[in-house]
Symmetry: C2
Subunit: 260 residues, 2 copies
């Protein structure tokens, strides 16, 4: 059997320690190609670059591993990998991350890491976004690696029939401290924003986004609940945002008539 | 009864004809505040600006209408409106657009217009993203206005109990040519990308994203189906991306054990 082809990307940039950890695991499971942003792209969500050109360069920072850095967003990286570099070769799996910091709950929509994975799933590629709940550059990815490997093997060998995107968040615990994995739903949590207001060196006012994450979702089946108890949360996700439950209430609008 | 407070934003920039059309309709229904990007932000998806400061300036281009331009993304505009400008005043409605070009189907995840509306809905503000299927700057928004007004009135006076975000796309038809409105689901369509590959003036290679939109979804209940037949498509949307159907198949991962 041929080795599976695994596309690796992230949003913290091609040189981040988190993607190095992911490359190390992926390289033990198949042939890999790395296409990642040349600079940090956190918070880029599902942004794509349409009003300017993109640059794509090979990089040798991972030795013999085929790797490229791209001037665009994480979603751009997946599009370039698929359409320029791989062309007719369809990856068997796309993995994105390991992100330095949580992408649990509503963070999935702000996250470049998860948007890259979602873009791959739109192309029919099974995909996983991984995030560790430690924002620091020196985060320790070692305790996560056995679980990352098991999830990649699950998606490569068994996979899912209904949808193919996993949002995986990993608690920041030392070796042996992670209790296992839980299949969860996305918690209904949100950010409460506070903007720092200050003046720049020229005396002009600016605002800088900050905020705190608030979870009012009491569910015991959520990703946040699992993470708080030392489990890795695994949320199967999808790109159909239709709110089917709301459709009946909207029915009256089909009766609107424009009087002319 | 007090006039409702309506927050108006977009992704084509504060000076785009589409937002002018939306401001004209909104101003007839309530008190309005406009906070929009100072430059085009198409394709920004749910991007937020976290690594640099934001600028926010009043603009007088809409006369007596309170309006601001912001250096950030559409989602940044909503966050600044909510947290810096309005503070304790909660808008009764947020409207985003009218976008120059379609945001039907999967475009909801790439669209700054819809991401701004989604951000407002995350804050508990009923919201609508409007898009006209005409990419040109000279697009004619007049035929859409009566429907835009009716949808805004529906959301202000009746609203929805389950979720509060509408993705509204309007066919590009002359006065009298729009047949009505249909409540739809998001079509399972996608972009087939092609990158233009060329050299810049310094002889360096670049790539520029292009593509064509392909709809293989045969459903007669989709937004694309309605639009092709001359109807305005109204898709109620939500931010829970959990793929509930896939959860049972993932159950085996909860049995994984790390051997140490």
């Amino acid at each position: 059997m041929n080795k599976p082809l695994i596309l690796v990307t992230n949003d913290d940039g091609v040189s981040a320690p988190g993607i190095r950890a992911l490359i190390e695991v992926a390289a033990s499971l198949g042939e890999i190609i790395v296409v990642a942003p040349d600079s940090p792209q956190s918070g880029m969500g599902h942004a794509i670059t349409i009003s300017q050109p993109l640059r794509l360069h090979p990089t040798s920072i991972y030795g013999n591993v085929e790797a490229y850095e791209c001037s665009g967003t994480p979603v751009d990286c997946v599009k370039l990998a698929k359409n320029v570099l791989l062309k007719d070769r369809q990856p068997d799996l796309c993995v994105s991350g390991i992100n330095h910091g949580s992408n649990a709950s509503i963070n999935i929509i702000y996250s470049g890491t998860l948007s890259a994975a979602m873009e791959a799933s739109l192309e029919g590629i099974p995909s996983i976004g991984f995030s560790l709940l430690d924002y620091s550059y020196q985060a320790d990815f070692e305790p996560a690696k056995p679980f990352v490997r098991q999830l990649m093997e699950f998606m490569l060998h068994q996979g899912l029939s209904a949808g193919s995107l996993l949002n995986v968040n990993i608690p920041n615990r030392p070796e042996g401290g992670i209790k296992g994995m839980k299949v969860c739903r996305q918690a209904d949590a949100r950010w409460v924003e506070e903007f720092i207001e200050a003046k720049d060196p020229r005396g002009q006012k600016y605002y800088w986004l900050t905020g705190r994450f608030v979870n009012d979702d009491p569910g015991e089946d959520t990703d946040i609940h699992a993470l708080e108890r030392g489990y890795i949360s695994v949320v199967p996700s999808k790109h159909d945002l239709t709110n089917y439950e709301a459709m009946p209430e909207l029915a009256p609008i089909e009766q609107f008539v424009v009087l002319t």
